[in-house]
Point group: C2
């Protein structure tokens, strides 16, 4: 299983919402999205729940219920999505505390955290440069450019 597909699912959801919004339909159901992603509607609702907490979408109740984008597609970057759905850091430190009697074991964790922080920042920069609108264009065109 290794890496999870939460970012992929969330970006797919938002890109699909942006597409159908462009066609005039701005409230959609988790069932409709699940049909495009090819998964269970509950998986989609879980993803949408995280996007809602991040303020990217809202849920509507009652008749004609569903979900709606709260920002334009070019105002949502993949960094926004990444932050909304990804909780764990990119690289884990030691599972068990290393040997504190060893100079390496005693001091390596802050050193690693600094390097890992730099890698996270690099990922943020890369994802922050692409919007849902970019992904939508790339998806329809066969490329992201």
């Amino acid at each position: 299983m290794a890496a999870n597909s939460r970012l992929t699912v969330a970006v797919h959801v938002l890109t699909w919402m942006a597409l159908v919004k462009g066609r005039g339909r701005d409230v959609v159901t988790s069932d409709q999205i699940a049909d495009s992603v090819n998964t269970n509607p509950v998986v989609i609702r879980r993803s949408l729940g995280e996007l809602r907490k991040a303020g990217l979408v809202e849920a509507l109740h009652g008749a004609g219920a569903g979900w709606r984008l709260l920002r334009e597609a070019d105002a949502i970057t993949l960094l926004d999505v990444y932050r909304a759905v990804e909780t764990e850091p990119l690289f884990a430190l030691h599972r068990a505390e290393p040997n504190q009697k060893c100079p390496i074991g005693a001091g390596i964790r802050p050193a690693l955290e600094e390097v890992y922080g730099g890698a996270e920042a690099a990922v943020h920069g890369a994802l922050g440069g692409t919007s849902i609108a970019d992904v939508l264009r790339g998806t329809l065109a066969g490329r992201t450019g």
Copy 2:
């Protein structure tokens, strides 16, 4: 469990080897390394096996057997280590193929792969700028500086 700690373990291993090499001991055993990392020697041997395939260390047999660095600590970057131990991409695509009858489902995967490739490249750049010697200095000094 989420993210794995293979990069952390491998960097710890190499940093420890660099430290004791500076003290004149250049052949060490997996048991000795395991004592610093605080884990089982087999876990260390598995990590060393991947580093050996990458040409970063070698194993010696017979009497006085053990492991030895094949490069100076300032000639091993964390990108070398990352490539040696990490096989999976940073972000997974859809677990099941998305709906090919939907324009998003049909075209989103190449678009995502392009973005994810950019994020991988950013991580490579960040990790490539730090060497085992840097980590050793940072570990002993309390910072990576």
